[in-house]
């Protein structure tokens, strides 16, 4: 029996060549079947081309994609080329777009609801979404999706789109249509079993913790911790100079403490003059923050995630989607761990495909510096 899904990656600066090879392999794997769903990732430069061409080639398939910092897959990884997951059997999917994500996505919540009611079943269904990044809109997109999915129990899983270092814009795509200010989503019902969502945090809390006491939520700017100028407070607390604070916080994300859980938030920038700390996720006033540090035993972290995902061997994923934050990817590259990471992911999850973007969305949370996984049984 032919496999129900197929992952392929072609790293090539030549977009045409990359597309041809990917399509050739998909077709070979399809054995005459038409993919129900294609999830693809590519660099900003090639994104427009791949989006259009894939839709031209597979007009009957639901094709959803996102620009990515690097493409990750069980068939290799890299910053260029095209990476795709094609699913031929065992799923039902309904897709949609939420435009105007920066201003008023909520007006499209009813479109999400409508899409949800077109899916076969709410159970074993996930809402996979990709949202254009750099617009500080992920939280309101999540509000919209969750509002639209209210009462269905369908969780949201997705990523802010990514980009290469020299780019200034990110893209998402649905069925050949490209957007630079939108969220594209596809509700995927797994007819073959359940869908498991996992969050992996490779950072651990330090003893340094504090509370946000002045914040501009909408602009994701923190002005004060514990009633004091944010940057100054951090410098004093950490015993470092102001000119070092940016670098320090790049390696030490904020951990937003919610009950027993800690959610990572990246610091995008620090203005040493005003003391303002610019974050990549929304932080609310009175939020308890703990400073995080990378765990030294990263291989153990991967193993623990695997154990959790596999549930002592009781769970066998057919394919896995991951969203791995750009900063996390950079960490792996800088520490020469990226090869090992991709090998471990391939060993553990076999058929996997992933994006590296500017943030991760899981249920009602927009996260940073995190890896999230959706494993389809």
């Amino acid at each position: 029996m032919a496999d129900r899904c197929f992952v392929t990656y072609e790293q090539s600066y030549n977009k045409k060549e990359a597309l041809e090879r990917v399509v050739e392999r998909i077709n070979e794997a399809a054995g005459g079947r038409v993919p129900i769903l294609i999830v693809f990732f590519s660099s900003n430069v090639q994104f427009y081309y791949h989006s259009n061409k894939l839709h031209e080639i597979y007009p009957q398939s639901t094709i959803i994609g996102s620009s990515s910092y690097i493409c990750l897959s069980s068939e290799g990884y890299g910053p260029d080329g095209l990476c795709a997951l094609a699913v031929f059997d065992g799923i039902d999917c309904v897709a949609g777009v939420i435009p105007e994500v920066q201003a008023y996505p909520m007006q499209y919540a009813s479109d999400v609801t409508e899409a949800a009611h077109r899916i076969t079943k709410f159970e074993n269904t996930v809402c996979l979404e990709f949202t254009t990044a750099l617009l500080a809109c992920e939280e309101i997109v999540l509000d919209t999706l969750n509002k639209g999915l209210e009462g269905t129990g369908i969780p949201v899983f997705g990523s802010s789109s990514g980009m290469g270092a020299s780019s200034i814009m990110t893209y998402v795509s649905l069925n050949g249509q490209i957007y630079n200010e939108a969220c594209v989503f596809v509700l995927i019902h797994n007819e073959m079993g359940c869908i498991k969502l996992i969050r992996e945090n490779m950072y651990r809390p330090t003893i340094v913790s504090f509370m946000v006491t002045d914040v501009d939520c909408e602009r994701r700017i923190i002005y004060e911790f514990d009633g004091r100028n944010a940057a100054q407070f951090l410098c004093e607390k950490l015993g470092i100079r102001k000119d070092r604070i940016r670098d320090y916080l790049a390696e030490h994300p904020f951990g937003c403490m919610v009950g027993d859980e800690i959610y990572n938030i990246s610091v995008e920038d620090v203005d040493p003059d005003s003391g303002a700390v610019y974050c990549d996720s929304r932080v609310y006033n009175r939020t308890k923050i703990v400073l995080m540090e990378a765990r030294p035993d990263i291989r153990e972290v991967w193993r623990q995630t695997y154990e959790l995902a596999m549930d002592s061997g009781n769970f066998k994923p057919a394919f896995t989607l991951i969203a791995n934050c750009t900063i996390r990817t950079d960490y792996l590259i800088e520490h020469r761990l990226i090869d090992e990471f991709n090998d471990a992911m391939t060993d553990y999850y076999k058929c996997y495909v992933g994006t590296s973007g500017m943030g991760e969305q899981l249920c009602d949370r927009h996260l940073n510096q995190t890896m999230i996984m959706a494993l389809f049984e």
């Binding site: 008023y104 309101i140 999540l142 909408e218 919610v258 929304r282 006033n285």
Partner: protein
């Protein structure tokens, strides 16, 4: 901090941070609670403010003000710029006949032309009516007349769903401006004189057809010293109908009402507040609110109550009456009392030359969706405000300015407000602070007492233990690692205390590293308490294990006050020496008696000095060889006035603990100097005395100075006074002790090591310390191996002799001991065998007798030698 107060409406220094502006403001987040330089204030967020100016009217402190273009307007006319003025009908209504004089003055100052804004109101009303007459009616759709710029801004900024509900016709003022610009060909810069600060937004949104927004309040303030009587004026354009009254609430709708069939219009006059549009939307989707068109204004009563005018309420009611009279008169003119079709036809004919497209307006959404505050964030804020029950979360008193507690919590999450603005939180916080320890966040003493009281009430049949627990090594941690780690240690200890008492009692912090615990007296709990030995604090980077000492009081009968029980436990704790081991001591009767005696001693010691109850006693030292007294040790006895004696075994340890020993030492030294001086004068008594120096006195910096002072005061031959220093004093700070001993010796005094052999003696003392005499304690004789003791004494004596030191055996009680000592060569002996310590008089008597005996013995011997026999 984000920038605030940089828009049209601003907060000044008069703000006291009350919540009035919040409660009156239609927009959540426009007022932001801040603490600036320690003072609470409510700043205005320009991102959110719709410039309605309601807060200016509401604030009775005058803490809100607005910005307009009055100064720029005057600058323009004084710089010979051609400026024409559109005057809002409100100005004519407020100033009546004086209006002409004021406007005449402005014309004299250089205003080019003056137009009555009521004229534009008539155009706007006509075009609104046209729009309504031509529009397909939908009774379920609310429609908003474009009249109030703050309402328009509110919709654009906050209710984008309703943007297409606003009739796309320019407002009365803008219609006037467009009319004079296009149809009267007036190309001068336009200024608008009116009541409304928010008109500026409309001016900007419509391409700055009008350049200056001059508010009536600011204009009249500027012209307060001007006399207008001489100035006369005629408007260059005058309203001819109801336009003159359009400023009144509902009048604009009323004007339209005259022009369209009744079934097409059902105008509802409202002022906006928070949630109003939700109400309209909800009512629209539920079949309507009974109104098809809304004549909405931001101000509560009318534009005459806007922030840009300053009319007191009482004057307003007079004004209102006048205005309604005027309405009747004006109805006779253009609009008239005809049917709506007749009226409309008449107005249409009048405005036949105007092109409606010139007066069309579009609206732009500036809305940005707010993210919903996550439930867990609200939950956390609710909890930190002590709102931990549904009842507490629905107080909804509104004193914070928000309608509900939930709104307030969301405002806090967004950073618009502070918890301190909730009066209920502050009340609870005060209570909590009263009951909670600031550092550890567990109960403080008061909180502990309250918790114990509650525990007792809930468990009347149970028996509880009250404890005071002190952390060992806290000072060491503070010294080694700093106070912040010391605080971390205390916090961790608090966690342990809370964990230990969880489900079995309660815990609190007393002070410093001291904690209070209360737990049920059960074998299991006591077992757990005794099993608690040391704790690892490696997670806060303290490398060694830490321990505690706990005093416990078992409250069997509940007949003691809480204070007393804590005191008992504290006293028991105080009896434990700090070391590296966790120790628990119960407060019991024996301890109670001991403590009572201690209390008595402590309370009477100062008085005892003045009453001279401390009396020097002399214990003689005998020489075997010479068969006579060769010295005496002065010992302190406390003999009270009533003759009762307090044992030195009781008071000396207490004095050592409370430091009074230093005072007593000085007193006894002086007594010793006096004795030595007296005996030195007396030929019979030229025998040295020795006096003790306690370890504590020896450690005092001024110790040798004190001796030196006494020596000066009592210039004795130092040969007659020896000092005894206990062996244990040598065990620490040897260099310092050695220096001080040397200083004594340099003064000529002999120094003895006292009690050698009573503790864990070190031969190093003999090697290193500068001493003259060794006082050998009979401790070597005690115990099971007295043979071994004898061997040691023999060798010590031999060693001491080789070191050329004098040796005195003290504590000799038996003849066997004395014989042994004599045999091994220790000649001088002090002990009960020979004499107990005795008062000075007895001692002197004893010496005198001994002298006499010796004299007669010498005489007998001489007689014997001379052959004389008795």
């Amino acid at each position: 901090m984000k920038e605030y107060n940089n828009g049209l409406i601003r907060t000044n220094d008069k703000c006291i941070g009350c919540n009035k502006c919040v409660s009156t403001c239609p927009v959540v987040g426009a007022n932001v609670s801040l603490v600036v330089n320690g003072h609470p204030t409510m700043a205005v967020s320009e991102d959110k403010c719709i410039h309605c100016g309601k807060c200016i009217r509401t604030c009775n402190k005058g803490a809100r003000e607005f910005i307009d273009d009055t100064e720029e307007f005057f600058k323009a006319i004084y710089s010979d710029m051609k400026v024409s003025l559109i005057v809002d009908p409100a100005f004519y209504l407020i100033y009546g006949s004086e209006a002409g004089n004021i406007l005449g003055y402005l014309r004299e100052q250089g205003v080019y032309r003056i137009y009555d804004g009521g004229y534009g109101a008539e155009i706007s009303a006509y075009l609104h009516a046209t729009y309504i007459r031509n529009r397909k009616q939908d009774q379920n759709t609310a429609t908003i007349l474009n009249y109030c710029p703050a309402v328009i801004k509110y919709v654009e900024d906050h209710v984008p769903d309703m943007l297409d509900q606003i009739i796309p016709i320019q407002s009365p003022v803008m219609c006037t401006a467009i009319y004079v610009r296009k149809y009267l060909k007036d190309n001068s810069a336009l200024a608008y004189l009116g009541p409304c600060p928010s008109k500026k937004d409309e001016m900007i949104d419509t391409g700055n057809v009008i350049s200056y927004n001059v508010c009536i309040r600011n204009l009249m303030t500027k012209l307060k010293d001007v006399t207008f009587e001489e100035c006369n004026h005629e408007d260059d354009l005058k309203a001819i109908g109801l336009g003159a009254l359009s400023t009144l609430r509902g009048s604009f709708g009323y004007m339209i009402d005259r022009l369209i069939p009744k079934e097409m219009l059902s105008v509802k006059n409202e002022h906006i507040d928070r949630g109003f549009f939700d109400f309209i939307k909800a009512s629209s989707s539920n079949g309507g609110y009974g109104a098809s068109y809304y004549d909405l204004i931001a101000c509560d009563v009318s534009c005459l109550m806007s922030a840009g005018v300053d009319i007191p309420f009482d004057k307003y009611s007079d004004l209102n009456r006048k205005i309604y009279d005027l309405r009747g008169k004006n109805l006779d003119s253009l609009n008239g009392y005809g049917t709506c079709d007749e009226n409309y036809a008449r107005v249409e004919k009048f405005f036949t030359e105007i092109d409606p497209d010139d007066f069309a307006r579009s609206y732009q959404s500036t809305y940005r969706q707010m993210s919903q505050v996550p439930e867990d964030t609200c939950e956390a804020i609710f909890n930190s405000m002590y709102k931990d029950t549904e009842t507490k979360r629905h107080v909804d008193c509104g004193s914070c300015g928000y309608n509900t507690c939930r709104e307030m919590v969301e405002a806090i999450a967004y950073g618009y407000n502070r918890m301190e603005n909730c009066i209920h939180y502050m009340n609870d916080e005060l209570l909590m602070r009263y009951y909670t320890d600031d550092l550890t966040k567990i109960a403080n003493v008061e909180g502990f007492k309250a918790n114990v009281t509650r525990l007792y009430e809930q468990n009347p049949g149970k028996e509880y233990v009250i404890g005071v627990v002190s952390l060992n090594q806290l000072n060491l941690i503070n010294d080694l690692y700093g106070f912040s780690l010391g605080d971390a240690y205390i916090k961790k200890a608090a966690e342990i205390a809370v964990r230990f008492t969880k489900d079995i009692g309660t815990a609190g912090r007393l002070a410093g590293g001291e904690f209070l615990i209360c737990f049920e007296n059960t074998p299991e709990n006591m077992d757990a308490a005794y099993k608690a030995t040391t704790y690892s604090f490696s997670d806060i980077n303290v490398s060694f294990p830490l321990s505690f000492r706990a005093g416990l009081y078992l409250d069997r009968f509940r007949d003691e006050t809480m204070e007393a029980m804590i005191n008992y436990a504290s006293l028991a704790r105080d009896k434990i020496e700090e070391d590296g081991v966790s120790t628990i001591l119960f407060y019991d009767n024996e301890l109670q008696e001991k403590l009572a005696a201690e209390a008595m001693v402590t309370s009477q010691m100062y008085a005892a000095i003045t009453k001279m109850e401390f009396v020097p006693y002399y214990q003689p030292q005998y020489s075997h060889k010479e068969q006579r007294i060769v010295g005496a040790e002065i010992l302190c006895r406390w003999i009270k006035r009533d003759g009762s004696v307090i044992s030195p075994g009781l008071f000396i340890p207490i004095f050592e603990k409370n430091g009074f020993i230093k005072t007593l030492d000085k007193y006894m030294w002086e007594q010793a100097f006096i004795s030595a001086m007296n005996y030195q004068k007396d030929a019979f008594h030229r025998i040295p005395v020795s006096v003790n120096i306690s370890r504590i006195s020896l450690n005092e910096d001024d110790f040798t100075d004190t001796i030196r002072t006494l020596f000066k005061r009592y210039p004795i031959d130092p040969e007659y006074l020896h000092f005894e220093i206990t062996e244990s004093a040598y065990s620490s700070r040897q260099d310092i002790v050695s220096r001080k001993v040397n200083e004594l010796r340099e003064m000529g005094f002999k120094v003895a090591v006292d009690d050698f052999g009573s503790g864990y003696s070190s031969l190093n003392i003999l090697k290193d310390m500068p001493i003259d005499i060794l006082k050998l304690d009979m401790g070597f004789f005690r115990g099971r191996n007295s043979e071994n003791g004898q061997i040691i004494i023999r060798n010590v004596v031999s060693m001491v002799k080789e070191l050329s030191l004098d040796i005195i055996s003290e504590g000799v009680e038996t003849a066997e001991q004395a014989e042994f000592l004599r045999h091994v060569g220790c000649d001088i002996i002090q002990g009960y065998l020979y004499a107990r310590p005795m008062p000075a008089t007895e001692y002197e008597k004893l010496i005198r007798k001994e002298e006499e005996d010796m004299t007669s013995s010498r005489y007998e011997n001489e007689m014997k030698e001379k052959g004389v026999f008795y």
